[in-house]
Structure formats: C-alpha cells, structure tokens
C-alpha cells in the first residue's frame, strides 16, 4: 500500500528522462547545432532530440569522425564550443582522432558519448568501451555521469571548462540508464571548480620587464600564435606591432591573427615558413611570443632556435611557458589582456630601423617562389587563383600535407577565424568535414575546403551532408595522385623509394560527387581552371572541383628535420 502511494507521488514529479534533462541543459547553454550519429546507447538522447527538434539542429554525419571534425570547424569559426554526440563503444572510439586533434589545437568541444547501462559497465557488455580510460590523455577533462542529479552540473562544467582558459575538448560519458530513466525536472547545476582558475590578467611587473626589454632591443620580432585568435586579441596585437613598427611572424595556426598584407608581416614561420620569418627568429635579440606553443614544426632544431634572443612568452597556459624554449620573461595571461597592458606600458620604440631594413630586404630578395609551367596547373598558382576569386575573404579549411602548406603560403589571410586547419595532430580527413562545420557556423560566408586527394578519401562520405543540408561548400581537391608530403619526404630522405605513397587507383571524383547529386567539375590545366573557377564560386550551392595539379611539385622552402631555422633549403633569390 505504502509503496503504491509512493510510486504515485513520484510519477507526478518525474516527468522527464535524464536525456530530456541533458537536452534542456544544452538549450540553456544556447547550443544551436549538434553534430552526431545515433546508436544503441544514445537512443534515449536521440528520442529527446526528436522531441526537442525545434530547439536546435542536429547534423547527421556519415561517420563519427566527420561529426567531430565538423564540430571542430564549427568551434574554430564561431568561437563557441562544438557539440558532438556519439554512441558507446565504436561510436566513441571513432571520435578519438577528433578529440586528440582538438586537444592539440586547443579547440573547445563538448563531446557526449553513450555508455552501456551502469548495471553492466565493466562486464565487456555489447558496445562497451572504456571511454574514460581512452580519452583521459586527450581531453582537458572528462566525466562519466554516475547520478542523474549530477547531469546538469556536469554539462555546465563541461561547457565552462571547454571554452575558458586554454580551450580544449571535454568528454561526458553518459550511461544508458542515466539517460533513459525518469528523473526530476530540475537539479542544482551550480558548480565550483577550485582547482581550475585560469589566470586572465597578466602580472604588470612582468609586462614592465617586457616593455623594458623592448626599449633595449635592436632586433625585436613578434611570433603570434593561435592564442591571439582564441583570445580575440588581433586588434591589440595590431596596435602593439604598428605602434612600435615591430615585425610579426605567425605560426601555422596563427595565420590571420595579423594581416598577411601588412608591411610588418613576415609571413608564416617554421618548417615551410618564409626565409624572412625564419631568419628573423634566428637573428632576433628579443622574441615576443604571443600565444604560440613553440611546436617543433615551428622551431626546428631547438639548439638553433632564437639563439641570441631574450625570450618573452605570453600564454594563458603556464605549462607551455618554458616547456620547449627557455623563457626569460614569462607572462601568464590571456593574450588580449597582456597586449592591452603592454600597449599601456611600452613607450614608443623607434630604434630598430636597420633591422627592419634588413628584414624588408630579405622579403624582397627571398620571396616564396615556384616555377609556373605554360599549361599544367601549379598547386601554388591554384591557391593564388582561389585567393583572387574569393577576394581573400573565404574561410579556408584543409587537411594536412602539401596542399595545406601551399594554402598556408599562398592564400594570404588578413582576418582571424578564416583559417581552419589541423596543426598539432596533422589529421588527414580533417578539412572537408571541418568545412561543413565552418559553413554551419557562418552560413553567409564562402567556405572553401582545400583537400588532398588522399585526405579527402578518408572522410568523403560526408558529401551526403552537403547535399542533405544544401551547404554551399566549395571542395577543391588538389589532386596529385599521391600522398604528396609522404612522397616528398621519400624523395628527399628515402632516396625516392616511394613506398605506398602513390595512389594508383583513384575514383572519378566528378562521378562520385554526382552520385551524391552535387555539382562537380574536373580541371587539368591552367586554362580550364581560369574558365571554371568563376563558375564554382558563382554557383549557389556545393561544388566539388577535382583539380589535377602538377604531380611532381614539392613544398619549398623547407627546414629538414633536425636542422635549424637558418638551414633552410629551397630558398631562391
């Protein structure tokens, strides 16, 4: 009797499932787009999505890897966390590449993975995988929900952690019984994270040290990384550089945080950076690193990295300071705050005209170069044409490899949040789904996915999403019938033994795209490209362009592995 009465009471209060609660919290977090793929363990969540379909749009990708890279593209362009849902076991493990990618490139993601019910967790149940164990090393934080009452708090913590401080991916593993069972309407979602208090404002004394060092410096240079973009500090960076006439080089991921067309810009630094940028880093007496993490692809051999410089490093993540390069002036801070403080403190610094002249001479004498043939299409030239056609204003996404480096070198970026590439992890298959996410974040902008023929084949099933959602992404396949960068390294360092790097059998990309009901074209020569490109960008819908480029072309200049910044090869006057 008593039991019945109690059950009756609960039935009145408990009108929601845990999944409803989850979706409600996502709505409170102002999530408008979710990328995902359903499966057994997330069926309750998908049922809740069905009930709440007016609240946001769910993008069904054709592979979980597509979903998470799309979420990364979305996060990169919108500045908001990308949200992903995948089922337990294989669904979750298919996300791993994207989670690791987001971790390396500091992209905010909130990833929900289904988990088998708590009653069978740990029994090797159907579609069970140890998501906590697998994702611990590649997440900023991860959770497994053990009590539905914790769910709203955990979700809010996840969004907070993913999007503040140094951004990163957070995984929330949700057992099926948590999402399926009935629960109360509301639970306390307030949270307190005493161990997580990112330092936002710089220590003014440290900034003073930097200002003093700048006043003494004869050969200063700024190295700007993605931290400037995450910190929305482009204006402050520009004000700082222009006020003092300081030369600026950016990392691969920092492209666009400082206008590439500015006379102060030295271009990108690093393995395939410009001669001018790398020599500036080599010869400088003061290196001001703003939000870059001294990745080995940037520094080359550390022994020869900025050997005579006082190194100042502004980073929101204290663990990055001094990790790879000895730092003399550490400034733990958000980039915007630090640069604003620096702009307040530093007096005008005109005494480095000789240095600027030298750098400008280098720029003139050793520009990026390539040999342009008469007929065939040079990939570098292709990038320049795409730049021309889009007025340099498109959002460009890429995979990793030769096409990525050519895009970085020849598509000049003047604004932040227009360059979406996989830097740290170097993920093939990233570019195309990332373009989908970028287009969803910015529906009015031109989005170009510049992909290699190798990488595209890793995630090209997402063509379905273009067709289904009518996303006007322009996919340009830089097709050299090879894993170009692998081939280039085999050519240079393995005596031309092209082990498994030549893609003998390619699909007909035009027919492939057409089978997804998309507009598609193929071009073989410069002449054809010039004819076709206006059509590609004029067309009000998705286009796949199979651009057959010069197969033997390599990316230069280059710092060979183990070499220093001053030992570039392929530099031509």
């Amino acid at each position: 009797m008593n039991l019945d009465a109690k059950a009756g009471r609960e039935a009145v209060v408990q009108t929601k499932t845990g999944a409803d609660l989850l979706i409600q919290t996502l709505v409170e977090e102002k999530v408008d787009t979710i990328f995902g793929y359903p499966g057994g363990a997330v069926l309750p969540i998908y049922d809740a999505i069905y009930r709440a379909e007016d609240e946001f749009s769910h993008i069904l990708t054709r592979h979980e890897q597509g979903a998470i890279h799309a979420a990364e593209g979305y996060a990169r362009v919108s500045g908001k966390p990308g949200v992903v849902i995948a089922t337990s076991g294989p669904g979750a493990t298919n996300l791993i590449t994207g989670i690791a990618d987001a971790m390396m490139d500091s992209l905010p993601l909130v990833v929900f993975t289904g988990q088998v019910a708590r009653t069978v967790v740990g029994t090797d149940a159907f579609q069970e995988a140890d998501v906590m164990g697998i994702t611990t090393p590649i997440t900023k934080q991860n959770y497994q929900v053990q009590d539905v009452r914790d769910l709203p708090r955990i979700v809010k913590e996840a969004f907070h952690i993913a999007s503040t401080g140094r951004p990163g991916p957070v995984v929330v593993d949700v057992p099926k019984d948590i999402s399926a069972n009935m629960c109360d309407d509301h639970y306390d979602a307030s949270f307190y994270l005493p161990g997580y208090q990112p330092t936002i404002k710089p220590n003014p004394l440290q900034v003073k040290k930097l200002a003093d060092a700048l006043a003494q410096s004869k050969k200063p240079v700024i190295l700007a990384g993605a931290g400037v973009i995450h910190g929305k500090a482009s204006q402050e960076l520009r004000a700082f550089a222009e006020h003092h006439s300081l030369p600026v080089t950016t990392t691969l991921l920092g492209l666009g945080c400082f206008p590439g067309k500015s006379p102060l810009s030295l271009g990108m630094a690093g393995m395939h950076g410009t001669y001018t940028a790398n020599m500036a880093l080599y010869e400088c007496d003061l290196l001001i690193n703003v939000g870059a993490r001294f990745d080995d692809r940037l520094t080359g051999n550390l022994k020869h990295f900025a050997p005579n410089a006082t190194v100042a490093h502004i980073d929101i993540d204290p663990a990055e300071i001094g990790k790879n390069v000895t730092t003399h002036i550490p400034i733990v801070s958000d980039a915007k705050e630090a640069l604003a403080e620096l702009n307040r403190q530093a007096a005008k610094h005109p005494n480095h005209t000789e240095w600027m002249e030298k750098l400008n001479n280098n720029k003139k004498s050793y520009p990026l170069w390539y040999n342009k043939p008469d007929q065939e299409m040079c990939p570098q030239w292709l990038m320049e044409k795409v730049h021309e056609m889009t007025n340099g204003e498109a959002i460009v996404t890429t995979d990793v490899g030769q096409h990525q480096m050519w895009a970085a070198q020849y598509y000049s970026f003047n604004e932040p949040n227009r360059w979406v590439t996989s830097g740290g992890l170097g993920t093939m298959g990233f570019g195309f789904p990332a373009a989908i996410g970028a287009q969803l974040a910015k529906p009015d902008r031109t989005v170009v996915a510049i992909v290699g023929d190798g990488g595209f084949q890793m995630t090209m099933q997402e063509l379905s999403v273009l067709q289904e959602r009518g996303l006007p992404v322009k996919v340009i396949i830089v097709n050299n019938e090879a894993l170009g960068m692998v081939r280039q390294w085999q050519e240079a360092f393995y005596d031309k033994r092209y082990s498994e790097s030549l893609l003998g059998c390619q699909p007909d990309f035009v027919k492939l795209a057409e089978s997804y009901y998309l507009k598609a074209m193929k071009v073989d020569s410069q002449k054809e490209l010039v004819q076709v490109l206006p059509e590609v960008f004029a067309y009000d819908g998705p286009v796949v362009l199979d651009a057959r480029v010069l197969q033997a072309e390599n990316v230069y200049p280059m710092i060979a592995p183990g070499k220093g910044l001053h030992e570039m090869i392929g530099v031509r006057p």
């Binding site: 906590m132 611990t136 900023k140 952690i161 161990g195 997580y196 663990a319 001094g322």
Partner: protein, 174 residues
C-alpha cells in the same frame, strides 16, 4: 635527482589515472605513489617520489600536474623541512627459535613483529625509506619471502628552518 612532490586533489574517480597517465606520457619515472584522504572531506593527497633529470623537467612536471582541473595544489617539498614516512611489511623465513634473535635486530628500528607462523615471521616497520632499506638489508640473510611497501607519504614540518639550514634536510632525503 629524486623529488618528493605532493598534490592535493579533488576526490574524483579517474584522478589518479589522469595524473599517472600524464607522468607516463611525458616520460617521468615514478618511484612510488601513495594516496589517502586528508582532513578535508572530498580532498585527497597524493605523494609522488619521482626521478627527474633536471630542474626544467621538474618545473614542467609540476606545471602539468597543476594544470589538471581536479588538482588544487602541487608542491615540490624535497628541499623543505618535511616529515616523510613509509610503511613496510616484511615476511622473513623463520622458525620458533629465531624470534629472539629477530627481536634484537629489529628493535633499534622500532619495528615490530606482527605475525608469527611455523616457518615465517612478519615485521612491520615505518620510517624514512633509507631506514626501511637498512632493515631489509639486515633481514635479507634470513631469507625474505615477501615485502609490501606503501610508498612514501610526507608533509611539511610545522616550522620551516631558515634558508641556510635547508641543505641538511635535502641531504637527508636523498
């Protein structure tokens, strides 16, 4: 160099895994770990003894540990005035006749016999790791059947000496 690093952490499943995984991934060699509750509910303390190549690596380790969301405080207490203890249980081959001889050996260590059987004796000892090593060395000739050690746990002494006195403490810990 051997360093003693303590971490105050939020008591959450997976935290130990996150921290030890971090150390493994970054190639730090953990000599011992001990974990237990603190005076504050929901907060645990971990004590790591780690072999570290240089001070730059050490700084990187403490920063990486501190960066973790559930870590409240990280301290390298190696060079401070600290109280550091480890507990060891040592099972030695023995017979009834040997008990008195054993007592003579372990008494200076303030160790105690906690179990006696037909053919073995179990000894409990607490102290600094080198003291435990010394006792184990003395017992080894009798035949050691089994050793279980807790790993070091440590905290700062109530009063810290002046800087000039620090060397003696760090020498003691090496």
């Amino acid at each position: 160099m051997k360093r003693i690093i303590t971490a105050l952490v939020q008591d959450r499943s997976g935290v130990l895994n996150r921290l030890t995984g971090l150390m493994q991934r970054r190639q730090f060699n953990i000599e011992s770990i001990s974990v237990g509750k603190t005076e504050t509910e929901g907060i645990s303390k971990m004590t790591f003894v780690v072999e570290i190549a240089d001070s730059q690596k050490l700084e990187q380790l403490t920063k990486q540990l501190h960066k973790q969301i559930d870590v409240l405080k990280v301290s390298d207490i190696t060079d401070k005035a600290i109280v550091a203890r480890e507990l060891a249980l040592i099972k030695v081959v023995s017979n009834g006749h040997l008990i008195n001889e054993m007592k003579g050996i372990i008494e200076p260590f303030r160790a105690s016999i906690i179990d006696v059987s037909k053919d073995s004796l179990s000894i409990q000892v607490t102290g600094k790791p080198d003291k435990i090593e010394a006792l184990i060395d003395l017992l080894r000739p009798y035949g050691i059947k089994e050793i279980a050690r807790t790993g070091m746990t440590a905290f700062l002494r109530g009063q810290q000496p002046q800087v000039a006195e620090l060397n003696s403490y760090s020498a003691m810990m090496k």
